[in-house]
């Protein structure tokens, strides 16, 4: 009985609902079809459109000095060729031989037949030298760390970084789109505070990868990272460490294996070591070192590795030969260390400058003394004048170039002094005397006026 009732009721409703569906869907289809693209510029409304030019105003560049071969006419203490390997004839000859074997360019990315046997050899040699499982070679120092960071850290991950990291690291962090926390320069307790805060807020959790980015010796300050404490913290809070060893490979440690050798930290504590071939090795390029599992990941996801032409074979060969020399003569490192220490002693006696830099660091930053009220651009131009003065007297200094408005935490203007193996006592005292002399002649009345 009930069934029949329902059936009778439904038949009428079904018909109505079906009709509704048909009407509504026809209506929708109709309106959709009639919807056409309307050009927003063809309405009656007036639209003002005055695009800004790509370059809003003319800027003047400071002309950089034109250099010949490093140290050709002047004593160059700005170029970061610490071991003076740019002078080695063997390297040049081997590079030229390689040039006559393969030509200059590699004509393709590593995956597109840009891999030459010298690349494989360099990777193998570097891995053996650093005692890691694998390395991969990039074709430019800047792009190495700037590609390595976004290869691992993605949106939603968190990065803890020192506030003084150099520009390439900053760009790498920016490209990764991760959350970033900068801790105070070389301050492990500040890092600990940040980490425990993050742990309390549940920002550190297993669903999210957390990275720690530090430099072994900071390019922007010359200070050494307190790596032991940092590693300890990283293990406690389960962070992965990316360590930029650009300035320490071929400088620190008994064999030049970097800060891990110097501080006797097992290399497998560091997840990824990033290095540059542009400083001690005096060629072009960079590399990442770590376990096979970690490094291999970059070969497909490191943008600068995947999508860029590989390192020219001759420059690769130069790096291999530099490694040969470094392995044969580890005494070079001692000479460099001595010079760095001597330089620290000598710089401490400067009258008009302060300086910063670990005594083992090959990079020192020289700042103007007593300039609290002076603004940065005045300091910069003053330093530039000092450098020009010294250039005329036969010593080339590098005024550290920064893009002040783009840097996350722009360092104070400074002259970046690079220690190297070639310096002797007379050189060092001449450098210091010349700096003071230049200051006195460039700055009248020994007072900097803020303009």
């Amino acid at each position: 009985m009930i069934l029949v009732d329902i059936y009778e009721m439904m038949s009428c409703w079904t018909f109505l609902i079906a009709l509704q569906v048909v009407i509504v869907s026809t209506y929708f289809l109709w309106t959709r079809k009639s919807k056409k693209y309307k050009d927003p510029l063809m309405t009656d409304e007036r639209i003002e459109w005055n695009p800004m030019p790509l370059v809003p105003y003319e800027v003047e560049n400071e002309e950089p000095p034109l250099m010949g071969k490093i140290d050709e006419n002047v004593l160059n203490v700005g170029a970061t060729s610490f071991l003076c390997l740019d002078k080695e004839e063997v390297i040049l000859e081997n590079a030229i031989n390689c040039l006559h074997k393969y030509g200059v360019g590699s004509c393709g990315p590593r995956g597109f037949y840009g891999t030459i046997d010298v690349h494989l050899e360099l990777e193998e040699r570097l891995a053996k030298f650093l005692e890691v499982e694998e390395t991969c070679v990039y074709s430019y120092g800047f792009s190495t760390v700037a590609s390595a960071i976004p290869a691992y850290s993605k949106k939603g991950d968190i990065i803890f970084a020192d506030e003084a990291v150099w520009f390439a690291v900053q760009k790498g962090i920016e490209a990764s789109r991760s959350t970033v926390r900068y801790f105070k320069h070389n301050d492990a307790s500040d890092l600990e505070r940040l980490l425990s805060e993050a742990a309390q807020k549940k920002e550190l959790n297993p669903k999210r990868r957390a990275f720690l980015v530090v430099e072994a010796i900071y390019f922007n300050t010359g200070e050494m990272c307190p790596l032991k404490q940092v590693v300890e913290l990283a293990r406690r809070f389960k962070l992965r460490i990316i360590l930029d060893e650009s300035l320490t490979i071929g400088v620190l440690g008994k064999h030049g294996r970097g800060i891990t050798e110097h501080l006797k930290i097992p290399r497998d504590e560091i997840d990824l070591i990033v290095g540059s071939l542009e400083h001690s090795f005096a060629t072009i390029g960079g590399f990442c070192a770590g376990t096979h599992f970690i490094v291999e990941h970059q070969r497909l996801s490191g943008l600068g590795y995947c999508f860029s032409a590989s390192l020219p074979p001759m420059l690769t060969q130069a790096a291999i030969t530099a490694l040969d020399i470094l392995e044969q003569k580890p005494d070079m490192l001692k000479e460099l260390d001595e010079n760095s220490k001597k330089l620290n002693k000598a710089l401490a006696e400067l009258k008009h400058f302060t300086f910063r830099g670990n005594e083992l660091s090959p990079v020192k930053h020289i700042y103007l003394k007593n300039t609290d009220k002076t603004d940065d651009s005045t300091k910069q131009s003053c330093l530039r004048k000092i450098a020009n003065y010294c250039m005329e007297k036969g010593v080339a200094f590098a005024v550290a170039a920064y893009l002040r408005d783009v840097e996350v935490n722009c360092p104070e203007p400074s002259i970046r002094l690079a220690s190297s193996r070639k310096l002797n006592d007379t050189n060092i005292s001449m450098i210091c005397n010349l700096l003071d002399e230049a200051y006195e002649s460039v700055v009248p009345n020994n007072k900097l006026q803020s303009s």
């Binding site: 790509l54 800027v59 970061t80 590699s106 542009e278 420059l315």
Partner: protein
């Protein structure tokens, strides 16, 4: 200049192991098939000690004759060198490194197999990357004179006279006021764009733009809207919408000259007309086109008959046609000054190696001589010839007639692996490009034409090879290995429409 290259295409293949038997299966689908299923599909006895290509072909023919073609047959690669070694046969002669891969790359390793191949994967368009000759000698001379590197950035102590000369020469070559060079092509985009564009700008970017452009735009923090590949109407619509929004300080169109994965050429005249009409700005990446296109080898502006000054920013690389490394940004003197002050490469990235500088300078000098221009003509002839032969084979090649990048479609991942494998076996090194770089169903083989006289023969011999590939074993109407499509024989489709390269791939079914 025969290169030793990593064969990156077997990465996706897998090894199916069963006792001492080892059959290598390529492709994602096949990777999950157990050994028995594969052997059953092949209809070879499960106890066969060695799987040979003839087994596969026999099995395929049998399947065809029974009217039930089995697609999976296509997925199986020929016997690897390692298996040949296991069977006590000598592996083929050098000089290309094989890599034995499994599903995850973490277990890929070199087999030690070497094979001598014609390199059709490198972008040595004009053949300037040769180990001897005036370019190489000049580079060697520069190395002796200036060393290998200056160990400093350009703004600090890294500038040497060669850099200045190169910048002047580049500007003169392109016909603009000034230029700025950088030691790495990828970094030129990634470090130059952030200095040029700010958060207020809107960028209309082609959907096939290179990763370096995308990274540069991300670092510049601009808003990016993507228009369909080479679609001027879509571009115009997006631009008009954006102007009507009144939010943007300026609108920049970012395009490439020749797209490396599509082989298409940008319709530059149309873009310049649009730019002038709507007040847009144009950033043109000539990574593949500079040196390779145009009567004077000046790139896509030369090819399309556009004044270089009409393009706001000209960017390009020295890696391809000039056989060196690095890149440039060129334009008005005002722009270059701005980039020196605000671009990242001038202040932070180390200076270009003097040897590389000299190589580029020598190549540019050579391009001003008749013999240099002959190389450009030869490249164009080779490209046309290569494309016409490919078309005659009935395979689908994307791109513009004049583009030296010739992508040949093979559609599926497994086809790609198989084609590359077979070509390698015949001594031709090419690159297969698959999913992450292309849509999933549009895997392709990327050829690049070259102009060297010695390459001329290689290019033509290569054209003949796909014919011989479909030799007596294969079904008659198969170009390379596109054999399992049951389409009627198609007339080759010309994809050379100058102004509107096809948006949709030519359907095979």
């Amino acid at each position: 200049n025969i290169c030793v290259g990593i064969k990156n295409n077997i990465m996706e293949s897998s090894e199916v192991r069963c006792g001492r038997e080892c059959v290598r299966v390529a492709g994602v689908r096949a990777a999950v098939q157990p050994l028995r299923a594969v052997l059953l599909a092949l209809r070879v006895p499960a106890r066969a000690t060695l799987l040979q290509p003839s087994h596969l072909l026999r099995a395929r023919r049998r399947a065809h004759s029974q009217g039930a073609p089995h697609r999976r047959l296509q997925l199986v690669l020929p016997v690897s060198a390692r298996r040949l070694q296991l069977a006590g046969r000598a592996p083929p002669a050098p000089c290309r490194l094989g890599r034995l891969g499994c599903i995850a790359s973490s277990v890929a390793r070199f087999t030690g197999e070497e094979r001598r191949c014609i390199n059709l994967g490198s972008y040595n368009y004009l053949g300037f990357a040769e180990p001897t000759g005036p370019c190489a000698d000049a580079a060697a001379e520069a190395t002796r004179r200036y060393g290998l590197a200056l160990a400093s950035s350009r703004a600090e102590l890294g500038s040497c006279p060669l850099h200045e000369e190169l910048e002047e020469a580049t500007a003169r070559f392109l016909g603009v006021e000034a230029a700025l060079v950088c030691g790495m092509g990828f970094a030129t985009n990634a470090l130059g764009l952030p200095g040029l564009l700010g958060p207020g700008a809107l960028v209309l970017s082609d959907e096939n733009n290179h990763a370096s452009l995308i990274l540069g735009l991300r670092l510049a923090r601009v808003t990016v809207r993507v228009f369909r590949h080479n679609d001027l109407r879509h571009l115009e619509r997006l631009a008009r919408d954006a102007i009507a929004e009144r939010r943007w300080t300026n609108i920049v169109v970012v395009v490439e000259g020749v797209y490396s994965m599509e082989g298409s050429i940008v319709p530059l005249q149309g873009i310049i007309a649009l730019k002038k009409r709507l007040g847009l700005q144009v950033y043109l990446d000539e990574a593949h086109s500079v040196g390779a296109l145009g009567a004077h080898a000046r790139g896509v502006t030369d090819h399309c008959g556009v004044r270089p000054a009409d393009v706001d920013v000209l960017m390009g690389t020295f890696t391809k046609s000039f056989g060196a490394a690095g890149g440039y940004i060129a334009g008005s003197a005002k722009l270059i000054k701005w980039l020196r002050a605000h671009g990242h490469m001038h202040a932070y990235a180390h200076a270009m190696s003097p040897a590389v500088c000299m190589q580029i300078l020598a190549a540019m000098r050579a391009l001003r001589t008749p013999s240099g221009l002959r190389r450009v003509r030869t490249l164009r002839d080779n490209t046309h010839y290569f494309r016409s032969r490919l078309r005659a084979l009935g395979v689908v090649a994307y791109g513009h007639e004049d583009s030296p990048v010739v992508p040949m479609l093979v559609y599926t991942f497994s086809n790609m692996a198989a084609v590359v494998e077979r070509l390698t076996a015949r001594g031709i090194a090419t690159v297969g490009v698959g999913f992450p770089a292309t849509p999933l169903y549009k895997a392709r083989i990327s050829w690049s034409a070259a102009s060297t006289p010695s390459r001329r023969s290689s290019t033509s011999s290569d054209c003949a090879t796909p014919v011989s590939l479909s030799d007596r074993h294969a079904p008659p109407r198969t170009p390379v290995s596109l054999s399992d499509r049951h389409a009627p024989p198609r007339t080759p489709v010309s994809l050379s429409d100058r102004h509107a390269p096809p948006r949709t791939p030519v359907s095979l079914s």
